[in-house]
Symmetry: C2
C-alpha cells in the first residue's frame, strides 16, 4: 500500500494502537500538541535521542522494517541502561520517502512495539513527515532513576576494576557477514548476525549496577571498546590497562575469526554496536558485585582490566608486550 | 569549513557552548549517554517533537541557517505554548549532508540558541550524524506545568467562545512572497515574510491561558485555522460557527491581498504556520479573560466565533450566507 492512499492521519491511526504498556502515570499519549505524564516520585528525568539515516546507518533493502524499528529503539534504551536508569517513554519521528510502503513502516513499528513491550516502555508520540529520498528515524527515550543511582562517564577512579556485561566483537562480525552477503547455515554465525541486528538493551543489568553501590562509571558499547572506554578515561581524567587474554570473546566469534583468518582481539577492541555495558567498580566492591550479578542474571561479568593514574589506554598481551590503543570507533564526517 | 576537517566530536565541541540558561535543576547536560534533570516539584512533564526535512519543509539555499534553526525550535515551543505549559529543555538531532558547511550548521545553532535564550530553555543534548543528501533536523522540547493548568484539544464545550491570540494568514502570505522571490521594499510586506520565517512562540500567552481558568481547549495554528480548529472540534465532539468579518486580518495582509488580488479571509482560514494560539473559553469567563489578557500583553484577543452542538465547522459571511469549512491544511503524503 502506498502512503499517498491513506495520508498522514491515516498512517498515524494505523500506528497508534498498542503503544501503552504502563499507563498509570500517563495523562495524555498520542493525539495532542504534546504528551503529558507524571514523573516517578523522588526520581529525576533522563532523556536520550538517536537518529538513524538510510544509506548512513542502514540500507533499506538489506534490513527488514522490524529489525530497523527494533534497533532504532534498542540503541536509545541502551543509553538509558548505561546510566543505570529505567526507560519509561519513547517518541519516534520518521521522515518517509514516497517509495517506502505502508507495510514497511508498519513492520518497523512492530519492531519498535515488540521491544517497547518487552521493557514496558510507552510510545507516547512523535512526528511523521515526508522525505524526498532517505528514510530517517529519530527516537527519543525518557527515563527515570533515583538521582544517587545514576551512573556517569566521568566517575572512574584510579585502581577501579573494569568490567563488561557481555561479549565484544560479535556485532561487528555479524555486520561483516550481512554486508558481504555471506550465507550462514550454522547457529553460531546466525547468532553473530542477530547480535548486530537485534541487540538486547541491558536495562535490568544497568539498573542493578546503578543500585548496587561502588560502580563509579558506565557507558554502553556503541562505538567500540577503544572509543567508549576512551570516553570514560577522558571524562574521568584517568588511564587504563586492559588485557588481550581477558577480552570477552564468544565461541561464535572465535569460529568466525578462524574461518575468515581474522584476529578476535582486534574485533573485541575495535568492534562496535555490541550494546553491552562497560563499567568501572571500586576493587573492594568488585567480588561481591560479581557474585550477586551472576546469581541474578545467570551470566558472568567479564573483568577486562583496571583504571590507573596514567593518561593512556594500553592493551597488554600474554607475552607482556603492550600497545597503546587509540580510539578507532565511528566518528561521523571524518574521512579515514 | 568542511565537516570532514573537524569531525563529529569537533562539531559537537563547537556547538556545545552557550546551551544552558536556567541550570539549577540540570544535573547533566551534553556529554553523557543521556541528559539528566530534576522535574519541577508538583508539575507534570510534557514532551513534543517535530522533524524538519530539506526539500519538504525548507530549501537550504532559500533560508539562512539562523532562520532554519530558529524555526525548528519555534514550532516545538509553540506546541508547549498550546498546552499552557512552560518549555524547559530542548534536544536537537541533525543529519548533515557532506555539502553542508560547518558555518551553516553553526549559524543554525545561533538561531536555536537565540530563541532558547529568549525563553530560558536549555539545550541539553541531541545527536549528530551524516546524511547522504538532505539536511534533517529533529527537535524535542520537554516542558512542565501544574497538571490542572494543562490545556488539551478535547475540552471544548457547547457555547464556548473561540479566540485567537494573533493575526491569521500572515505567514502564508510571507511564504508566497519568499517562494516566488518577490522583492519587498515596504515594512509591511517584510513583516509578512518575518511572520513566516521567525514566528514568535506564544509561551507566556499560553501559560497565562492555562492558569486563568475557564479556558477549555487550545491548539496552535500550524496547519491552518480550518485544520487546527477541526482538530479541536473532532476531539471535543462539537461543531463551531466562525465569522468572516471577525477573522483577525492584519493591515499588512490586507495590503498584500489588495496588491495580488487575493481574498484575505481565505488566507486567514486556510493559511498555516502562524503559530498563534487558538482557544475556546467559557462565555462567563470570556470578558474578564479578554480584559486581563489585554492589560498584560498590551494586545487584544480576537473573538472569531463560538462552539455549538453540531458536528460541522461553518463560516458565516456578513450577508448571512454560510459555507461549510473542511480541513484543507497540510497533510503529508496525501496528493492534492
Amino acid at each position: 500500500m502506498k502512503l499517498q492512499e491513506i495520508g498522514e492521519f491515516g498512517l498515524i491511526d494505523k500506528l497508534s494502537e498498542g503503544c501503552l504498556h504502563k499507563e498509570n502515570h500517563v495523562i495524555r499519549a498520542i493525539g495532542d500538541d504534546a504528551a503529558v505524564f507524571i514523573q516517578s516520585a523522588g526520581e529525576v528525568v533522563l532523556v536520550t535521542t538517536d537518529m538513524l539515516v538510510e544509506r548512513v546507518h542502514f540500507l533499506r533493502n538489506a534490513t527488514t522494517g522490524f529489525n530497523l524499528g527494533y534497533k532504532a529503539l534498542a540503541v536509545n534504551l541502551s543509553d538509558i541502561a548505561a546510566m543505570g536508569a529505567s526507560a519509561r517513554e519513547a517518541f519516534v519521528s520518521i521522515a518517509i520517502p514516497e517509495d517506502c510502503s505502508v507495510e514497511f513502516i508498519e513492520d518497523m513499528y512492530k519492531g519498535i512495539k515488540y521491544l517497547a513491550a518487552s521493557f514496558q516502555v510507552n510510545l507516547l508520540g512523535g512526528d511523521t513527515t515526508a522525505s524526498p529520498k532517505d528514510l530517517v528515524i529519530n527516537v527519543v527515550v525518557v527515563g527515570s532513576a533515583p538521582q544517587e543511582e545514576i551512573l556517569y562517564r566521568d566517575g572512574a577512579k584510579n585502581k577501579d576494576l573494569i568490567y563488561c556485561t557481555g561479549y565484544l566483537g560479535d556485532s561487528r562480525a555479524g555486520c561483516h557477514l550481512i554486508v558481504n552477503g555471506i550465507k550462514t547455515e550454522s547457529d553460531g554465525l546466525k547468532a553473530l548476525k542477530n547480535a548486530h541486528l537485534i541487540p538486547r538493551p541491558m536495562l535490568m543489568e544497568g539498573k542493578f549496577l546503578g543500585g548496587f553501590g561502588g560502580v563509579h562509571a558506565a557507558i554502553d558499547i556503541s562505538d567500540g571498546l577503544s572509543s567508549d572506554l576512551g570516553h570514560i578515561l577522558k571524562q574521568s581524567r584517568v588511564g587504563a590497562k586492559i588485557y588481550a587474554e581477558k577480552m570477552p570473546i564468544s565461541e561464535n566469534l572465535k569460529i568466525f575469526c578462524k574461518q575468515f583468518n581474522l584476529d578476535p582481539v582486534k574485533y573485541a577492541v575495535d568492534g562496535g554496536e555490541d550494546y553491552v555495558l562497560l563499567f568501572t567498580v571500586s576493587p573492594d566492591r568488585a567480588q561481591k558485585l560479581y557474585k550477586k550479578y551472576h546469581e541474578i542474571f545467570e551470566f558472568p561479568l567479564f573483568e577486562i582490566g583496571e583504571i590507573n593514574d596514567s593518561d593512556q589506554l594500553v592493551l597488554e598481551f600474554p607475552n607482556g608486550k603492550t600497545e597503546q590503543i587509540l580510539p578507532t570507533g565511528w566518528n561521523h564526517f571524518k574521512k579515514t
